[in-house]
């Protein structure tokens, strides 16, 4: 019993108060009810749009009720035609593969660039550290917009390469700042003792700093992963070859198509209703985020808190 009690106390955000002599008044009880009602209301507000999309994707072709009634369609009446059609469609599979390539390539590149830059910025004894910080911060504060960046990608010949989707965003200054703040917080004594033992800076980074930085690397990796998976804009600008289209572009094409005929690539989608195809492709695009989300949630909360409190 006692154990259960302490567990319950620990999991609440607001610590339990110790003083039990004051009994809750009417106003306190009303307050608690208002909080609960508000939370339930929030739950409904958050769930309705998500639920309506999910149920729409399971709608059978023969369904005749309104869309509102469709939200309460029993799971045993669900049809998986839309998903079968999507997974049997070459265009969709190709876009999914492209998105996966962008995700993996992007996260690897981004971490390999961000970690050394953030680490070097945190080496206090390095001559030129101040200048480096200024050089890193100027483009962050002064944003010249999309056209000059477009010209750059065009001039270095990245057009119609998947790398064009992730390379322009492979170093996010904001992520560098968060990571540097974390590295700054690692005790200097640890690094100093390794240095005395003859470690080079690269070895210190690999052997001392990296093992201590799992949470922040996961967090920043997640930020990058989300930004690359969701990146729609770069793909729209830099990818013209439709075989290289990532998922967000295909998804937009599917969503914008009013009927099946308008979109040639969905013509092989079989007999699922077009609304269901649209909703199913929305769900399929979101699914990697939804699956990865609970695993990384604990990391990002920790990571953002570190960044936020210091910020």
């Amino acid at each position: 019993m006692a154990e259960a009690k302490t567990k319950k106390e620990r999991i609440h955000l607001k610590p339990k108060m110790h003083n039990k002599t004051v009994r809750p008044t009417r106003a306190d009880r009303i307050f608690q009810i208002c909080v609960d009602v508000f939370m339930v209301l929030m739950l409904i507000i958050i769930l309705i749009p998500l639920w309506s999309t999910v149920t729409l994707s399971f709608r059978p072709n023969t369904y005749i009720g309104t869309y509102l009634q469709g939200m309460f369609l029993a799971p045993w009446d669900w049809s998986f035609d839309a998903y079968k059609a999507l997974l049997g469609n070459n265009g969709f599979l190709m876009a999914f593969t492209n998105s996966c390539k962008i995700l993996v390539g992007g996260v690897v590149c981004a971490l390999l660039l961000t970690i050394p830059l953030a680490y070097v910025m945190s080496v206090k004894s390095m001559p030129g550290r101040k200048a480096l910080t200024t050089i890193v911060l100027i483009p962050y504060i002064f944003d010249v917009g999309m056209i000059p960046a477009y010209l750059l990608v065009q001039n270095i010949g990245l057009m119609d390469h998947l790398a064009a989707v992730f390379l322009p965003g492979a170093i996010s200054t904001y992520n560098v700042i968060i990571m540097r703040q974390f590295f700054d917080g690692i005790p200097a004594e640890l690094k100093e003792s390794a240095r005395i033992d003859g470690c080079s800076e690269v070895q210190i980074l690999l052997r001392i700093v990296m093992p201590l930085s799992k949470a922040i690397v996961m967090t920043i990796g997640l930020y990058y992963g989300v930004s690359f998976w969701n990146n729609f804009f770069n793909a729209m600008l830099y990818i013209q070859n439709s075989n290289l289209n990532p998922l967000p572009i295909l998804l937009r094409n599917i969503l914008m198509a009013a009927g099946m005929n308008e979109y040639v690539e969905v013509s092989a989608f079989g007999n699922a209703p077009i609304e269901a195809i649209k909703a199913a492709s929305v769900f399929m695009s979101a699914i990697p985020m939804v699956i990865a989300y609970p695993f990384i949630q604990k990391y990002f909360t920790k990571g953002t808190l570190a960044g936020a409190v210091k910020g």
Binding site: H12, F31, L68, K124, I147, L151
Partner: protein, 314 residues
């Protein structure tokens, strides 16, 4: 702010060359990210010179002819300048006015909620939409708002109303933008407030309780004052990026019918530059936005550091 006890600073007059040699592997580590940074962040700044040029693709950035401030005056004198500025500010301020109170109330409700399962579910689900792209959001909104298949219009029809095409009505569109943004980001923006709430000393609540303050009064006189610095900081940082009204969202949701109320600086730059090939004009507008944005960020950061006594973003 230099620490006197740091071992590096104890060495009298460090020899610069020796220091550089001692750090040669650090510079080696920096080499690739640094070159990358210069290419992808500084070359665009260099390219921004076409704002002062009559850019033609075959002449390139350097070869095009200088025309001074022509592009800027063209933009300031055009009728859409005020419309773009008005729309951009309307959406930015609207998003602050709606989402800031929502995320503060949500964070307090999450903090005060005593039902573990309810709290955990709301917390987890509220963060989720932040990770969905606006393309996905458009699909979700479509299932909700579409005049033919949206559940909201089903409800309107149920009560005998006529269906509204929310995304192409100039009256409904701004609300769709503001509310969908609030829905997507409220959980994520609440995180910072939850962090602030968790650092409140609980004995303050106990003392107030003994003094006879009820829950409402404790929120009013303890919780809100305790997170006020964070609220002010968030507000100031948001004002620093006031000219970013959300390109991705707007690009996905708008259509020619609602351009008059939906066009913001970024969407206009995109259309003029990359669809109409007016690179010089579009870059000038982007540069104008960049300079104003820079001033705002610097000022707001200064204010944040003054307000929070020394801690600032940079």
């Amino acid at each position: 702010m230099k620490k006197k006890d740091s071992p590096e600073l104890m060495v009298p007059k460090p020899n610069l060359r020796r220091e550089i040699l001692r750090h040669k592997d650090v510079y080696l580590l920096l080499l690739i990210p640094f070159v990358f940074y210069i290419v992808f962040k500084y070359v665009p700044i260099f390219n921004a010179q076409i704002a002062f040029k009559n850019f033609r693709a075959r002449d390139g950035v350097l070869g095009s002819a200088w025309i001074g401030l022509q592009n800027f005056t063209d933009f300031f004198n055009s009728f859409y300048f005020w419309e773009l500025l008005r729309n951009t500010l309307m959406y930015s301020f609207g998003k602050i006015i709606i989402s800031l109170p929502v995320s503060i109330i949500l964070s307090i409700a999450i903090y005060e909620c005593t039902h573990y399962a309810l709290r955990k579910t709301v917390q987890t689900l509220a963060y989720l939409p932040h990770f969905l792209s606006w393309v996905i959001m458009y699909g979700v909104l479509f299932a909700l708002l579409s005049p033919s298949s949206g559940i909201l219009n089903d409800i309107i029809k149920l009560f005998g109303g006529t269906p509204i095409d929310f995304l192409s009505s100039v009256h409904a569109f701004p609300w769709v933008v503001l509310l969908s943004d609030a829905w997507k980001e409220m959980g994520w923006s609440a995180i910072i407030f939850i962090a602030a709430l968790m650092s409140i000393d609980v004995s303050l609540f106990e003392a107030a309780m003994v003094e006879g303050a009820n829950s409402w009064q404790r929120v009013r006189y303890i919780t809100l004052p305790a997170i006020k610095p964070v609220i002010v900081t968030v507000l100031l940082l948001k004002i620093g990026t006031i000219l970013d009204a959300g390109f991705n969202q707007m690009y996905m949701l708008y259509s020619p019918q609602v351009y008059s109320i939906a066009d913001i600086i970024d969407t206009w730059v995109y259309r003029q530059g990359l669809l109409n090939f007016q690179f010089g004009l579009a870059t000038a507008v982007g540069l104008f936005k960049g300079i104003i944005g820079m001033i705002l960020v610097l000022v707001s950061n200064k204010l944040v550091s003054r307000f929070n006594e020394g801690s600032s973003l940079f």
